[in-house]
């Protein structure tokens, strides 16, 4: 059986995956898996009755429906009559890469727990590692990875390093993900955006952001 429609194939799998995920988390793992695992793997929520619907009722119903639709889409992928151009999937990474990314995050979080440092550093480290991996091995995914990494960098650098440095990180990393990277241009853009942000967000809207890192004293706000 040839996969006539890769888009539907993967979309169907994705929907089946999501649907099953919600059903299992809401219902809990079935008994035979619990026996294998030794204890209740996923507790699940109460179903309740139609009168007093429990928290699991709606999610299970919807999740099951989603999984069924996913299955229909999946099966359709083998019988599709659409042209190859419309159905080809152009993802710059494959499934394995997603698993690698997940593993990187988990490893970093565990490492942070082990070293007793904040989770934030784990997220930053993961972003850095994944960006480097993408640049080296998956140049097609450069834009995707760097844009995502830039917003992670901003978020996790804001508290420790302040608005100025976090914004600079975001702008530099995201600019790197673009087509061209001109140092002077990016630097000027950084300065302009930082000034704008400080004036509008911190001074104007009084958002409680630190502007400078803790070790620099000459900042107007903590």
């Amino acid at each position: 059986m040839k996969i006539k429609n890769p888009k539907d194939f993967w979309a169907g799998l994705m929907f089946i995956g999501f649907g099953l995920f919600f059903v299992i988390v809401a219902l809990g793992t079935p008994a035979f898996i619990d026996k294998l695992w030794g204890e209740r793997l996923i507790p699940g929520y109460q179903m309740g009755t139609a009168v007093r619907m429990g928290p699991a009722y709606f999610p299970v119903f919807l999740g099951a429906l989603l999984a069924i639709l996913g299955a229909i889409i999946f099966v359709r992928a083998f019988a599709s009559k659409l042209g190859a151009e419309e159905t080809a999937v152009h993802l710059p990474f494959n499934f394995l890469d997603l698993i690698v990314a997940f593993v990187v995050f988990v490893v970093m979080v565990e490492l942070a727990k082990h070293l007793k440092i904040s989770n934030d550093y784990a997220m930053l480290a993961s972003a850095v590692v994944l960006s480097l991996l993408a640049i080296l091995f998956r140049p097609e995914a450069k834009a995707l990875t760097l844009i995502l990494a830039s917003s992670l960098a901003f978020a996790y650098l804001l508290k420790p390093l302040g608005l100025v440095l976090a914004s600079a990180a975001l702008i530099f990393i995201s600019a790197f993900g673009g087509h061209e990277f001109k140092w002077k241009e990016v630097a000027i853009l950084t300065v302009a955006l930082v000034i704008f942000s400080v004036v509008v967000f911190v001074k104007g809207l009084t958002l409680p952001f630190p502007i400078c890192p803790d070790f620099i004293e000459l900042c107007p706000i903590r």
Binding site: K7, W10, A11, M14, F15, F18, G19, F22, V25, Y45, Q46, A50, V51, R52, M53, P55, F58, P59, L62, G63, L66, L69, G70, I73, K81, V89, H90, L91, P92, M123, A143, L144, I147, L148, S150, S151, L152, F154, A155, Y156, L158, K159, S167, L170, I171, S174, A175, G177, G178, H179, E180, E185, V186, L189, L193, S197, F201, L205, P208, F209
Partner: protein, 520 residues
């Protein structure tokens, strides 16, 4: 009838009233203070509406202490101005950069952004502004004339009616997509499920949070919208093989053409009607208005094939609807003292701090406040049009900036906005996750818009379904019972709409099958 003019007269007199103000020790006489407050409010509202991620709720909350020293009328006029000003600003970002400032601007992104990419940002923005202005005027009049009876109608909406309305809304959400029908339904379902993450209202149980305390109150709309619309769009643009500018430099007109004007009129009228009707419903009415209007337009317009690619009706209808809805959502507040959304809840807070008990008696005990607010809504809309139309030229200039400079700026605003939701990095992480999800979905031929609408409606639907079942003690036929004609009506409409949608798709499949048979 004379009563209305008399009351509107009171209102306008109050709005234009000249007062003596004491500023830093100097007393200025004959200052039209309330108008000034209105201007400040709409200006601020537009500004924060344009900044993605930062919404009127946060701004109004921050400005509450300022209102302590103002008179109640001035305070409420300013806060109201922020609210509907944000609607105008939100549509600006939706059109220019595909970022919905408010949940009701999601639909404007669909066609407005496409129009901008085709060099028609000017007509799109003008349509949005003028449509909103018209809708604002009409709905203000409706508020003035029919506030009390409309409030009574709103009270008739119980959980069963809301649920049925949302089912109708969901079916409409499917219409929004222009690709595969079944994938659109799947995206809606996925959105519904994602909306359930968080604390369950009815039982208090924390669902799908996996011990992450930041998820205890669910995933925020802003996070999902920024991720799936904003980040996804930026990445998509950066991935274009040929280094083509996102916004074509060939800007055709700054103003709608004669053809545009002709095509705008009916959608604006329909959108206004729908928006005014749905806005009075506390709890999600104004939201449904914008994409209900879009769906309606798509179904009745003879340019339906253009929807999703830059049809002007796709901007005119939802924009009118959401502004009409914004005005009429004041009705439950002003007549019954019930807030329709988080912003109204803040206004109630502002009123209470001023010592005014919100409720039905406000209209009779404080006519200047009531009618002054209504008159200020009209004045505010006028100010917004006057403010926004000249700005169109500026926005167009902004779009000519090379994309490599534009997109980091957009990213900063998004990141700041999302971070400020709860001052935690976690929300930005979620935004990135949703960006990834949106990216994958688009590559797989699934559209993000139905997911977002499912996301907004999901928790509301469940809450109302369970509450309706609780109240009816488990009778599932309560939704179509003859004692609830409104609920039955919505469900029948949903069924009809579903049939209308499904039939062409089915027919196309049959034709496909026939063609294949004949060929092979």
């Amino acid at each position: 009838m004379e009563g209305i003019f008399h009351n509107l007269g009171i209102g306008f007199v109050e709005v234009f009233r000249l007062q003596d103000i004491t500023l830093w020790g100097h007393t200025l006489s004959y200052v039209p203070f309330n108008i000034l407050m209105c201007l400040i409010g709409v200006f601020l509202g537009t500004l924060i509406g344009v900044l993605p991620g930062i919404g009127p709720v946060a701004t109004i909350a921050m400005l509450l202490p300022v209102t302590f020293n103002l008179s109640p009328v001035a305070a409420l006029i300013m806060l109201a101005g922020i609210y509907y000003g944000a609607q105008y600003g939100g549509s600006t970002t939706a059109i220019l950069v595909n970022l919905p400032g408010e949940s009701s601007s999601v639909v404007t992104c669909l066609d407005g952004y496409q129009m901008a990419r085709q060099g028609r940002a000017g007509p799109a923005l003008a349509t949005a502004a003028l449509g909103s202005f018209f809708a604002g005027c009409v709905s203000t009049l409706i508020v003035a004339m029919f506030a009390p009876p409309l409030a009574e109608v709103a009270l008739k909406f119980g959980p069963a009616e809301y649920f049925s309305l949302m089912v109708l809304g969901l079916v409409s959400a499917v219409v929004l997509a222009h690709g595969s029908l079944i994938k659109a339904i799947a995206m809606v379902l996925l959105g519904l499920l994602l909306g359930l993450v968080g604390t369950d209202v009815n039982s208090g149980v924390l669902r799908f949070a996996f011990g992450i305390s930041e998820l205890a109150d669910g995933i925020g709309f802003v996070t999902v919208a920024m991720g799936m619309f904003g980040i996804c769009e930026i990445i998509g643009n950066l991935e274009q093989k040929e280094h083509r500018e996102v916004f074509t430099s060939k800007v055709s007109h700054l103003w709608p053409t004669k053809e545009d004007w002709r095509r705008m009129i009916a959608p604006v009228l329909r959108g206004t009607a729908l928006g005014s009707a749905l806005g009075i419903l506390p709890g999600g009415g104004a939201l449904l208005a914008s994409f209900g209007a879009y769906t309606l337009e798509k179904k009745v317009s003879k340019y339906a094939h253009e929807f999703g690619k830059g049809a002007i009706e796709g901007v005119a209808a939802p924009e009118s609807a959401n502004n009409a809805g914004a005005q009429t959502s004041f009705i439950p507040l002003l007549t019954l003292g019930i807030p329709s959304n988080a912003v109204m809840a803040l206004m109630i807070g502002a009123m209470m701090i001023q010592g005014i008990a919100p409720g039905p008696q406000v209209m009779s005990e404080r006519p200047q406040l009531f009618w002054g607010m209504i008159a200020s809504m009209w004045v505010g809309n006028l100010m917004l049009v006057i403010l926004n139309l000249p700005l169109i030229g500026m926005w167009i200039k902004l779009l000519t900036v090379p994309y490599r400079i534009l997109y980091p700026s957009i990213l900063i605003f998004m990141a700041v906005g999302v971070f400020s939701i709860s001052n935690q990095p976690f929300d930005c992480f979620l935004m990135s996750l949703f960006g990834l999800l949106g990216y994958i979905c688009v590559k797989l031929g699934c559209e993000p818009a139905p997911l977002i609408l499912g996301f907004i409606l999901g928790p509301l639907m469940e809450e109302n379904l369970r509450r309706a079942m609780l109240l009816s003690r488990g009778d599932p036929f309560v939704f179509i019972s003859p004692t609830k004609p409104i609920s039955m009506g919505f469900l029948i409409a949903a069924a009809i709409l579903l049939a209308i949608i499904a039939l062409p798709a089915l027919r196309a499949k049959r034709e496909e099958a026939f063609a294949a048979e004949e060929a092979g």
